[in-house]
């Protein structure tokens, strides 16, 4: 749980039973008069409505001066990292008052600051490896065995800029908002403002796949800069077998890209437009020209309805999608 600069570890538990039949207490909690107790009984657990509880278990000392953007638990299940705009710290789950700084990009003179850390994640299998992304569209892979302070990256992933698409907004839209390793640990995915990119960890020069999330926004960048939407940070996620990736967009739309079948779909998370247990209807945005029936034009998109957070169950085809005020859970159509 990231609350700006404090990290808390919570235990989430479900309770669906409660004890009944205490000897010394009434069911409502009042204490019985011991003089009136004439027999003993064993309390029993009886079912109750499911209750989900969250209780804080650890609070990790304030080791961050800037807003935390990522937390990632290591594959060793003992350590985790936390990243803010300028630093990445390494923690032990059991030790709350100490952390080790492993990346620090703060310049001596803050006026020289031109790049910040935007996301970080541990490799799913190699507990010495992690990556972090930047506001300039680069990803650095670091190996903690090399040195205590991972100032020098082992690999630098960066795609050369496309000169034909150059504008004053190029840097802003190249800023990476999320980075996620694939479950098999061979690829990583990055999300920038307009696209999702899949990188092979063995190739630093360019991504192996690029998917356009909402390319129709490219001609609206100035307006999106004006209303600050261009700074929205979208997450992305893999499905369990790394064959499909998903990310959010505006108008409560979210997008899925099937890597193998080269298909993509746009769906909407909205109570008005679909009922529970109803199969979601694919959406289409009309980028220009004549709008077909059922298509939505770019100008009628609601930029206040943004889906920034999405998650995919690690094994099953169940997804969670967060709109501004609601959390939607979707699953595969059950035949």
């Amino acid at each position: 749980n990231l609350s700006d600069k404090t990290i808390k570890l919570w235990k989430i538990s479900e309770r669906d039973k409660r004890p009944e039949g205490y000897n010394l207490k009434e069911d409502d909690g009042r204490f019985k008069d011991p003089n009136n107790i004439t027999s003993l009984r064993v309390p029993v657990l009886i079912p109750m409505d499911l209750m989900v509880e969250a209780s804080p278990r650890r609070v990790f000392a304030n080791a961050h001066t800037y807003h935390i953007n990522s937390i990632s638990v290591n594959s060793d299940n003992e350590t985790y990292l936390s990243a803010d705009d300028l630093r990445i710290n390494l923690w032990h789950l059991e030790i709350t008052d100490r952390s080790f700084n492993i990346v620090d990009i703060k310049p001596a003179n803050m006026e020289e600051l031109t790049e910040v850390i935007t996301a970080a994640e541990f490799h799913p299998h190699q507990c010495n490896t992690f990556v972090y992304s930047s506001s300039k569209g680069t990803i650095r892979l670091c190996d903690m065995r090399v040195s205590a302070l991972c100032d020098k990256h082992s690999k630098l992933f960066e795609e050369p800029e496309d000169p034909s698409n150059r504008s004053f907004f190029s840097e802003i839209i190249s800023s990476i908002s999320d980075v996620k390793f694939s479950h098999n640990g061979r690829y990583m995915m990055t999300r920038d403002y307009l696209s999702v990119k899949i990188w092979d960890l063995n190739m630093e020069s360019r991504p192996v796949e690029t998917y356009q999330v909402h390319e129709y926004l490219r001609s609206k960048l100035c307006s999106l800069y004006e209303n600050d939407c261009i700074f929205d940070k979208f997450e992305c996620c893999w499905n369990g077998n790394d064959s499909v990736v998903m990310t959010g967009s505006y108008n409560n739309f979210f997008r899925m890209f099937d890597r193998g079948q080269r298909r993509d779909v746009t769906l909407e998370a909205s109570r008005e437009n679909s009922k529970p247990m109803q199969v979601l209807k694919p959406r289409k945005v009309c980028a220009g020209g004549k709008r077909k029936k059922d298509e939505i034009s770019v100008d009628s998109l609601d930029f206040n309805k943004k889906i920034l957070h999405t998650a995919w169950h690690p094994q099953d085809n169940i997804i969670a999608v967060a709109t501004t005020n609601n959390l939607y859970i979707f699953q595969d159509k059950v035949n």
Binding site: V116, S223, F231
Partner: protein
């Protein structure tokens, strides 16, 4: 809203208002004029204005977003670099310098007499940053000069009401910024429908009668000002200190990032914030005429001042 994102293209210069032949400025400036005449440069200017306002607003947040500030600052830097290559930047800084240098000021005699405040003379030195200035953000004024000088110079700035600037939605009206405003006119004349007496100028140290300035926003009162949004190193404004007293010291670093604590020799994006004034970049239509007019006005100034 803009019809499209700003692209690095120079549009056709058909709207160029001046021919290169009868201007004293060198040919380079007419090439510049061609550039400046394009809607591209207008969009670029608007983008610059918008970015500077955003940077300022970033600064005013209780919990500033560093990533966003850095991205906006980089955008400003990019624009600045491109404008430097165009030569547009030089024109703008010259206009700023002209306005800041007392000798070149276009001031009426009586107003000249009022320039007694030492702060005004200080020109480019940092001035205390008031809380009010903080809230008011960033002022834009349109300055119109005319008089004995035949030409009419429109030093348009980042005025929200300039007809050529298509998007004014983000400039929510005039903001005052900083304490020093002076009124300047050419030979005591000013073109106008303004209510105020042209003599009525905001004296140094006044935040700016906001009302006075609001009326000015349309046309009018020729008000040049040197205002800055920098934190002074010494002495700190007590109101500001209080604002930030319980903030993590690292936020002072952020302040440095956002406001450029000390004047750096080169004009970075943070320096631009400091040198922003009502007489910002000239409009596209009058840029080169403005420049030549500055020369003429300099000449006239010399006569007036008797130097």
């Amino acid at each position: 809203m803009f019809p499209k994102g700003t692209k690095r293209k120079f549009s056709d210069s058909g709207e160029e208002p001046v021919s290169s032949g009868d201007q004293s400025p060198p040919a380079a400036s007419s090439a510049v004029a061609r550039t400046l005449s394009s809607s591209y440069s207008l969009q670029r200017q608007s983008l610059l204005d918008m970015s500077l306002i955003k940077l300022q607003l970033c600064h005013m947040l209780v919990e500033p977003n560093l990533c966003r500030s850095v991205l906006i600052a980089n955008t400003v830097r990019q624009i600045q670099e491109e404008m430097t290559q165009d030569g547009t930047w030089q024109i703008m800084t010259q206009a700023l310098a002209a306005a800041q240098c007392p000798a070149d000021r276009l001031v009426a005699t009586e107003v000249l007499c009022r320039q007694t405040d030492a702060a005004a003379q200080a020109g480019q030195s940092p001035k205390p940053f008031s809380v009010v200035g903080l809230e008011e953000g960033y002022h834009s004024e349109e300055v119109v000069m005319e008089g004995d000088v035949e030409t009419e110079v429109t030093m348009s700035t980042l005025s929200p009401v300039s007809p050529q600037l298509s998007s004014a939605s983000y400039l929510a009206g005039p903001f005052g910024m900083g304490p020093c405003w002076e009124e300047e006119e050419e030979d005591g004349e000013c073109e106008e429908d303004e209510e105020e007496d042209s003599e009525e100028c905001v004296s140094e140290g006044e935040e700016g009668d906001r009302d006075h300035l609001s009326e000015d926003s349309r046309t009018g009162e020729q008000v040049f000002g040197t205002f800055e949004i920098k934190h002074p190193a010494p002495p700190p404004d007590p109101a500001l200190e209080e604002l930030f007293s319980d903030v993590d010291p690292s936020y002072y670093d952020l302040d440095t990032v956002l406001t450029g604590m000390q004047a750096a020799p080169k004009m970075g994006p943070y320096d631009l914030l400091e040198s922003l004034s009502s007489h910002g970049p000239t409009t596209l239509s009058s840029s080169s005429s403005c420049r030549s007019d500055l020369n003429e006005l300099d000449h006239i100034m010399e006569i007036i001042v008797g130097s």
